[in-house]
Amino acid sequence: MNMANKTDKSRRRFLQKLGIAGASTVAGSALLLQGCSDSNKASGNKVKVLTADNKLVEVDVAHLKPGDKIQDLSYLQKRGREGIPGKKFVMVVDLAKCKNARKCMKACQSAHQLKPEMHHINVLEMEDPVKKTSYWMPKTCQHCDNPPCVSVCPVDATFKRQDGIVLIDNERCIGCRFCVAACPYSARTFNWTEPKNSDQYAEVTYDMELNVPQKKGTVTKCAFSADRLREGKLPYCVSACPNGVYYFGDQNEDLVTNGTTKKTVRLSHLLEENAAYTLMPELGTQPSVYYLPPREDKG
């Protein structure tokens, strides 16, 4: 009896083991097959997004559509830190064309939740002491290759990405304003008060590429509209200009596109033919924003 029991047990155990092994083989190969068929599409990296009819769904990163509002803070933070590989964004400002329409400033302020007195881009009137005339100069963050603001930040809140963009993470910013003091271009501004329409943005997940929602007690500045660049669109200010002042593009491609006319030209030719310059080159900050000097014959 004992012996029989033993054999029965071992047989049962054997059958059990065989069953488990068989089931796991089937399941494993099914998973493997699934993995093979989906390997081109899914990356296995899930994020939460808000659909057009305001439903929160979880989708794979590879299946994201440009209009999706991503609700996953950690994903947005990671994406914002990494930047877009293989790119080096540059802007060219043609001062001969600027007529102080200030459409760039308005587009920027409405996109980045800024009050009228706060500027990521500001159009300044410049006096020419030699010719006794003045011209308009739009000034943004210069996205320096040697950014003094980044070197002084004690908490790694402001940083430079692989695509050349200098961003701020206001989740880390402690509001010390060292960067404001370090920036020779006065490109940075501080949220002294509650940002514009802050109640409307209360539920919005923070996206550092857009730097919205803004937070009281943190520094903010031009982000080269990194959120738009990710979608292959030109920055807010560049597209809003009615006078063809801005060219924007990728230095690696040597191509820049005019935001108004949409004409794409070679960056190196444009800079060379128009005697382009950068602001305060003697500081060695190596800006990514180039200026074409104002001319009298064109415009």
Binding site: G164, G232, G249, N252, E253, K262, T264
Partner: protein
Amino acid sequence: MKNNKGYHIIILFCLCFLAVANVNAQSDWQVPVEANEKLSPFLFDDDMVLEGRVAYENSCTSCHGTPSQDDFTPMSPPPGDPASEPFQAQSDGSMFYKIKTGRGTMPKFADAFADDELWNIVAYIRSFNENYKQELPNMEGIVIPEYAMKLSFDENVDKLVVKVFAEELPQPEVSVSAYVMGTFGKHLLGKAQTNELGIAYVDVDPTLPGDEEGRVNVMVKATKGFARAKVEEHMVMAKATERHSAIEGRHIWSTDRMAPIWLKITFFVSVFGVWFALLFIVFGLRNIKKARKEA
């Protein structure tokens, strides 16, 4: 007093005359019947609209403003908004004629733009009219050939070679335009016409940077009348360039997370070294004190 009244009447009369003259100036731009009935030899599509937009922004915006925004320059006679009713009520041929020949303050664009470029501008202006349907010529009995293209790059002369076929037959006199696709727009490499062998050559600047293998995205369009074709290819024809990250191998952060390892080692070795030296001296002094007590 009486004199003053007469003065007013003269001013009023002059103003009325000016207003009438203005209206006349707009309405009596006579377009020859033949030109008025002229139809575009091209089918208006998105590419034409985009190219028309570039031309419009460069040459027309300064007076006509942005279409549908009513922001044209106040002039006499007023240039008007091309998206407005009086503009859109005209025929395509009439628009083409007026842009080409010009009159008074409206410049003549015949020398500035080729016919196909003028049609691009018409296509752009028409894109603001939702009800517009392009009038096409009578196409009965006319077969529109379906083009196929083969692209290659001749690295000996730095030229893009475009062969245009329709049903295996080479197509001569086809207008070919080649573009390099950038991140935000397309850059015109050049335009050419196919020869009797159906081949067109477009110059390529050898300094144009490509990816690591010298590849760029090329878009080529072939058009002849209503026949058109478009191909996009990722092909080797530019200078191979390595793309570096803007922060590769650099340590511009003040936080230790991104600091280089040699800096971390030097820092910790020197800090511990100083502590060790201090402790060594303190213990040494204590030992001396102890020794003195024992002695």
